[in-house]
Symmetry: C2
Subunit: 199 residues, 2 copies
């Protein structure tokens, strides 16, 4: 049974990304590495965590900015942020307004460019997942759309004890209980507090 | 050296109180007891915590709703939510638009009604504190005003692993780093995650 899952870091004041995202600063005007410190402190320790996040899913959906700079259409040169072998090893459905042929990378990752909206992208990802999980990779705007449409079954939030002050707010104006979400797990940790939400 | 301190509970999605506060529902349309579960689970266990919160301060400031229903002016009958002996045992400066004589209660609590704004109330509370702490008791709107004016020196947030979905958002549109606040303590707990912010 396919579940739609996601995983997001959020600051203590509710932000998950900076503003002004661009080619030069894919995460916007914000050093989001401070949000990620719980995860990447030592690569070995956290390898299992990263594998769990990426490896649990059989297909992925991501927003345009998460794949790369596409303002004004594809340049035809851009193949994502991840080098020749992206860590997904699965089909990745990229939301975009610009048509592009599928992009096959090393290691089993193929980027598919979906121009007919979030429902269509998720439907294609579901079929590709073949009963395993679909992961909505982000960014924040994409995840907010899927949350609002009640399409996310499970969300893992890692709340970091940092203040960002401004940026993209993850949950502003999203009434999670009204959408059917509730917190089912609460795991306080030394570097972040983890909560799991389910519908 | 007087510090201005406060203490607030907040849900995982950022809310500290409900809407539609009134005489019948002083905390609004919300059962905030779920936010307080970390504190009031067993009265004895938490007595020290409550004493620390209330007892550390020598004077208090609070908003109108926190004292009681005063829409349209004082009825002359209302003496606060706390019975004949409120837990403050100190001067309490209540922000209001309606003049009223000071109200002396049992046990050392006197409510003073301040009609000339948050700065004036804090100044009077500072003088009354005589070098000890002033505590801004709430509610949310009052605390937000003091935060925005950079008048709070230390804030303790107890972040509860619950979702409220709507209500009074504690930090919306308040850029704490820009106001000079940073997180100085992070204490993950079994029922809430505690963070301390200082300027």
């Amino acid at each position: 049974m396919t579940r739609v899952v996601c995983d997001m870091m959020v600051s203590a004041d509710g932000f998950s990304a900076g503003l002004d995202q661009s080619e030069d600063q894919p995460f916007g005007d914000l050093d989001t590495s401070i949000l990620q410190s719980w995860r990447f402190d030592t690569a070995e320790e956290n390898r299992a965590e990263i594998d769990a996040i990426v490896g649990g899913a059989k297909s992925f959906v991501m927003g345009r900015n998460m794949f790369g700079p596409v303002r004004g259409g594809w340049t035809g040169e851009w193949n994502g942020w991840w080098g020749p072998e992206p860590p997904y090893h699965a089909p990745v459905f990229v939301l975009t307004h610009h048509e592009r042929e599928p992009l096959e990378m090393e290691g089993g990752t193929t980027f598919h460019f979906v121009t007919d909206g979030i429902h269509a992208a998720l439907e294609r990802a579901r079929r590709a997942a073949d009963g395993r999980d679909v992961r909505v990779g982000g960014g924040v705007a994409t995840l907010r759309q899927y949350l609002r449409e009640r399409l996310v079954d499970e969300m893992h939030l890692a709340v970091s004890p940092v203040l960002l002050g401004s940026g993209e707010h993850l949950l502003a104006d999203i009434d999670l209980p009204a959408l059917g979400y509730r917190i089912t797990e609460y795991v306080p940790g030394g570097k972040a507090t983890h909560v799991v939400l389910r519908r």
